[in-house]
C-alpha cells in the first residue's frame, strides 16, 4: 500500500508504525520455535512500541494448556530467549490480551472455538481486528490448518481491505516439486497470494537485506558484477553442530532440503538477479524468479554438479563427537546427507560461464554463512608473473553470520625498500559500526507480515522454481540410497568430493577462519 493510499492519520508514520489492530494466532504455540523466536520477537516489537495498540495473541496447539499457564510459560520463555531484558510492564501489555486455544489441527470444532476467541478479543477491543495466522507446526499439518482456516471463514476475513487476514507459513514449503505445487494449491484455495507469507528467516537478516543496497546503491560495483570480471561465486552455510535432538526431523530432510533449497537459493537469487524496476515486493520477486529460471538443471551422477556426504566421528571444538549414523533417532542405514555441495550454471548474458558453488553441512569446521565473490585475476599486467609479488584475487565476502559484515580483499605494498606485495582486507562489521542495534530476523519478518509487506517473503512461483532444480537431484539420490554417499570427519570442511567439485574448474573453497 503506498503512503497516499493510507488513512490520513497514518500517512505520516512509517509503515511499521501504522500497523492495524491485530490478533496474531500462533499454530504450534507450545513448540520450540514459538518459545525461542516468535514470542521473543513479539515481545521485542512491544519494547520498540511497534505492535499496534490493539494487539491480541492467541496460542493454538494440540496440548490442552490453561490460559494462565500459557502466559506463565511465555514469560519464562521470554526471560530465557529474548535478546533484551524482560520487563514485566512491557509483557503485561501483551499478556493482558493473550489466550490459548487447544484443539486438533484437523478438527473443525477447534477452529470454531478459535473463531469465538477471536470474536471475544474483538469485543474487548471494541473494533474489528486484522487476523495474522502464524503456522509454526510440523509440515504434516500445514494442509489441514490452511483448509480449516478457509472453511471456518477466518481466511477470508477482510479480503481486499486494510484488515485482510494473513497467513505466515514456516519452512519447509514442500519436500519436492509435487508437494510444493500441491501446498501452493491448498493455500490458494483458501487465501489469495496477497495474503500468503512464506517465511525464510534468512531474508530477515540485516546482511541479506543489505545485499540489495550493496549491489544497487553502490554504482562502482555494477560494472564489475558480471562474467567479465567475476571468476566464480561461493555460498557457504556451514554449521558446527550436529543434529542434536532434532535427529528424527533432520533424517527426513537432510542438508539439501534443510538449507540449500531455501536459504541458499535465496542468497544466490539476490546476488545474481538483475536490478528490479523498483523496491516493490513484486518487482523484486519477479527478478528472483527470472534468475532461478535461468539456472541450468543440475547434472546428476559421477562428475556431475552435486556431492553429498555424511559426517563420521571426528573432533568438534576439540571434543570427540560421534558419527551421524550413531546419533540419536538416526537409522543405522540412513541415506540422508548431512553435507551437500553443488555447482550451478546461470545461463544469461550476465553470468554465462561463471560457476556458482554452494555448500551446506552439519558438523563442519565452524559456523559460518557467507557469500564470496571472487574476481578474475589478469594473466598479464605490471605485477603478474613475478614471484616476488604475492597477489591474491580480489574478493568481496559478505558474511551473513556470525560477525555480520563485508570484507574486500585487495593487494597492497608491504612497507620497505624491496618491492613486495601482500593481500590485505578492508573490513566493515555491522556490530562495530552500528552497535548493539540489530533486531532479530523474526522481529522484522513478523512485523512485515502484520503490516502486509511481502518483500522479504517468498512467492509461490519462487518455491516451485527452486524445487524444479532440486527435485531431480533428490529423486536420484533417493533411488541410489547409500550408493555414492561420501563421508567426512566431523569438524572438517567436508568430503574430498566437495573440494574436487571446485578443483575441476581450478577453484577451491575459502574455508576461512574468523
Amino acid at each position: 500500500m503506498s503512503d497516499t493510499d493510507r488513512h490520513p492519520f497514518l500517512s505520516g508514520l512509517s509503515k511499521h508504525r501504522g500497523a492495524q489492530p491485530t490478533c496474531v494466532v500462533i499454530f504450534g504455540a507450545s513448540g520450540d520455535l514459538a518459545a525461542r523466536k516468535l514470542l521473543p520477537a513479539l515481545y521485542n516489537l512491544a519494547v520498540d512500541s511497534l505492535l499496534p495498540a490493539d494487539f491480541h495473541l492467541i496460542g493454538f496447539g494440540r496440548k490442552p494448556i490453561p490460559d494462565a499457564e500459557f502466559r506463565t510459560q511465555a514469560a519464562a520463555d521470554l526471560k530465557k530467549f529474548s535478546r533484551r531484558e524482560f520487563r514485566p510492564d512491557i509483557w503485561k501489555r501483551i499478556e493482558d490480551n493473550t489466550t490459548y486455544q487447544a484443539g486438533g489441527y484437523d478438527d473443525p470444532a477447534a477452529f470454531a472455538a478459535l473463531k469465538e476467541q477471536i470474536a471475544a478479543a474483538e469485543k474487548r477491543a471494541g473494533r474489528s481486528l486484522q487476523l495474522v495466522f502464524y503456522v509454526s507446526t510440523p509440515p504434516s499439518v500445514f494442509e489441514p490448518i490452511l483448509e480449516n482456516l478457509g472453511q471456518s471463514g477466518l481466511a477470508g476475513r477482510g479480503v481486499g481491505t486494510d484488515l485482510e487476514s494473513k497467513v505466515i507459513i514456516e519452512k519447509p514449503f514442500g519436500k519436492d516439486l509435487a508437494s510444493a505445487v500441491h501446498l501452493n494449491a491448498v493455500a490458494a484455495r483458501n487465501f489469495r497470494e496477497s495474503q500468503i507469507f512464506r517465511i525464510d528467516h534468512y531474508l530477515g537478516k540485516e546482511t541479506v537485506q543489505d545485499l540489495l543496497v550493496l549491489r544497487f546503491a553502490n554504482p562502482i560495483l555494477e560494472p564489475l558484477w558480471n562474467r567479465r570480471h567475476v571468476d566464480h561465486v561461493q555460498i557457504t552455510v556451514a554449521e558446527e553442530l550436529g543434529v542434536g535432538t532434532r535427529g528424527g526431523y533432520y533424517d527426513g530432510s537432510g542438508a539439501t532440503r534443510d538449507m540449500l533449497q531455501n536459504h541458499t537459493m535465496q542468497l544466490l537469487a539476490l546476488v545474481a538477479m538483475e536490478q528490479p524496476r523498483s523496491l516493490s515486493a513484486e518487482h523484486i520477486r519477479d527478478e528472483k524468479v527470472k534468475l532461478l529460471e535461468s539456472i541450468q538443471p543440475l547434472r546428476v551422477g559421477a562428475n556431475g554438479d552435486a556431492v553429498r556426504a555424511q559426517y563420521v566421528e571426528g573432533l568438534s571444538g576439540g571434543e570427540k563427537v560421534p558419527s551421524y549414523l550413531t546419533e540419536k533417532d538416526i537409522p543405522k542405514d540412513s541415506a540422508t546427507e548431512t553435507f551437500c555441495a553443488l555447482r550451478f550454471s546461470v545461463e544469461n548474458s550476465r553470468w554465462s560461464g561463471v560457476p556458482f558453488y554452494m555448500r551446506s553441512g552439519k558438523r563442519l569446521a565452524r559456523r559460518v554463512s557467507e557469500i564470496a565473490i571472487q574476481f578474475k585475476q589478469p594473466e598479464s599486467g605490471l605485477f603478474a608473473g613475478d614471484a616476488r609479488y604475492d597477489l591474491a584475487p580480489n574478493r568481496l565476502v559478505i558474511q551473513i553470520q556470525p560477525d555480520e559484515g563485508t570484507t574486500l580483499v585487495l593487494n597492497s605494498k608491504v612497507p620497505g625498500l624491496e618491492p613486495r606485495t601482500q593481500p590485505v582486507r578492508l573490513s566493515f562489521r555491522y556490530a562495530t559500526t552500528y552497535g548493539s542495534n540489530t533486531p532479530e530476523a523474526y522481529e522484522r519478518l513478523i512485523l512485515d507480515g502484520i503490516v502486509g509487506d511481502r518483500t522479504l517473503f517468498i512467492r509461490g512461483d519462487e518455491t516451485e522454481a527452486s524445487w524444479r532444480l532440486f527435485t531431480p537431484l533428490l529423486q536420484s539420490w533417493q533411488q541410489q540410497g547409500q550408493e555414492g554417499m561420501e563421508t567426512y570427519a566431523a569438524g572438517s570442511w567436508g568430503p574430498a568430493g566437495g573440494d574436487a567439485l571446485l578443483a575441476a574448474h581450478g577453484h577451491a573453497w575459502r574455508n576461512a577462519g574468523r
Partner: protein, 322 residues
C-alpha cells in the same frame, strides 16, 4: 579562562594541537579489544546560557545515543559575548562500557571545545576534528538565534540539524538554513508514540466522520511542552485537512494551542464538533498513559493506552535518522 561547561564535563584537558594525538593515545590505552568505529559525527552545540548541570545531562544523553549508534561526539560550548576573545579550550574523553550483545568492550569518544565568536578558522578547526566521509549531525541545545547564525553556512554540509522547539523557540526554525529539509524538531520527534497511538486509533474511523462538523481543535500544554503542543497541533491540522480533501468536506475548524497546563504539567487535546460530539486525548500519569475518548466511535467509552513520550536518545535517533 576556564569555561564552566567544559570544566563540568568529564575528560582530560589538552592543548588544541594535542587533541587528535591525545585521542589516539586514549584509544591505545584502552587496549586492542575496544571497538573503535563510527557511523557518524554528532556535534552537540551548547549556547552560552546553558548551565553546567544542563550540559552534563545532555552530554549523558549524547553518550547514551553514541553507545547505541557509535559516533564521534564533538561538543562545542559557546562563551558569552563578553568572553568572545578568550582562548580556545579543549578536552578529550574516551568512555568505555560493556556491550553484552558483543560480549566485549565498546567505547565512545568525545572531543570538547570552548570557543568564542565563531570564525572561519574555528569552522576549519572543527572540520579537522570530524570523522571524514561520515555524516555530520548537529544538535543545537540552548543555542540562541544569534549564536547559531554564524554556523548557518556550515550546516549545508550537515545531514541534520536538530533542536528542541520548546527550548530554542520558533525563531530558530525560521533561520535561513541552506538546506531547510535537514532541520528537525526534537519536540516533534519526542511525540512520535503519541502520533502513532492516536493515528492507529483515528485510522479506524472514516475521514468524513472525523471532519464532519468539526469546530475546534485545541492542544493544551504545560510550560515545558510548547514545542510538543505546536508539533501535535500541526500534525492534527495536516491530517484533518487531508481527511477533508479525501471526503470533499469543508474544514472550518479553529486550531489553537493554549498554555493551560493540564494536571501534571502535561499535554492534552480536544476536538469539539457542532453536534456536541467530542474527541479527547489526555496524557495522564506523567505521560505514561493515554486516555482516548471519541463519542462518535462505536466504542465511546474511554480507551486507555500506554503511551510515553520518547526518551532523549530515542528522540535524537528519530530526528537524526528519519
Amino acid at each position: 579562562m576556564a569555561h564552566p561547561l567544559i570544566d563540568a564535563l568529564p575528560g582530560f584537558p589538552v592543548k588544541i594541537s594535542a587533541v587528535l594525538p591525545s585521542l589516539d593515545k586514549a584509544w591505545a590505552d584502552e587496549g586492542e579489544e575496544a571497538a573503535r568505529a563510527s557511523q557518524m559525527n554528532l556535534v552537540l552545540m551548547f549556547g552560552a546560557g546553558v548551565s553546567p548541570e544542563d550540559a552534563q545531562a545532555r552530554f549523558d544523553e549524547a553518550i547514551r545515543f553514541a553507545q547505541r549508534y557509535p559516533c564521534r561526539l564533538v561538543i562545542l560550548a559557546a562563551r558569552p559575548l563578553a568572553e568572545a576573545t578568550a582562548a580556545l579550550e579543549a578536552k578529550v574523553n574516551v568512555l568505555c562500557f560493556f556491550d553484552p550483545s558483543r560480549r566485549g568492550k565498546r567505547c565512545c569518544e568525545a572531543l570538547m571545545l570552548a570557543h568564542g565568536a565563531p570564525t572561519p578558522e574555528l569552522e576549519s578547526l572543527v572540520s579537522t576534528w570530524l570523522e571524514g566521509d561520515l555524516p555530520v549531525n548537529v544538535w543545537a541545545h540552548g543555542v540562541t538565534v544569534d549564536e547559531f547564525k554564524p554556523w548557518l553556512g556550515w550546516t549545508s554540509r550537515c545531514r541534520r540539524v536538530v533542536a528542541d522547539r520548546s527550548l530554542v523557540g520558533d525563531e530558530f526554525f525560521k533561520l535561513a538554513f541552506p538546506n531547510p529539509k535537514s532541520v528537525r524538531d526534537l519536540a516533534v520527534a519526542r511525540c512520535l508514540p503519541v502520533r502513532q497511538a492516536l493515528g492507529q486509533y483515528l485510522a479506524a474511523h472514516a475521514p468524513a466522520e472525523l471532519v464532519r462538523g468539526l469546530r475546534s481543535v485545541t492542544v493544551n500544554h504545560g510550560t515545558g511542552l510548547r514545542g510538543e503542543a505546536a508539533g501535535l497541533l500541526e500534525w492534527m491540522r495536516g491530517c484533518l485537512t487531508h481527511c477533508a480533501g479525501l471526503s470533499r468536506s469543508h474544514l472550518a475548524a479553529e486550531f489553537a494551542t493554549t498554555p493551560q497546563p493540564p494536571p501534571g504539567d502535561n499535554l492534552d487535546a480536544e476536538w469539539v464538533y457542532a453536534d456536541g460530539a467530542r474527541f479527547s486525548w489526555e496524557h495522564a500519569d506523567k505521560g505514561t498513559r493515554a486516555i482516548i475518548t471519541f463519542t462518535r466511535s462505536r466504542q465511546s467509552a474511554p480507551v486507555t493506552q500506554r503511551v510515553a513520550l520518547m526518551g532523549a536518545p530515542e528522540a535524537l535517533s528519530e530526528a537524526v535518522f528519519f
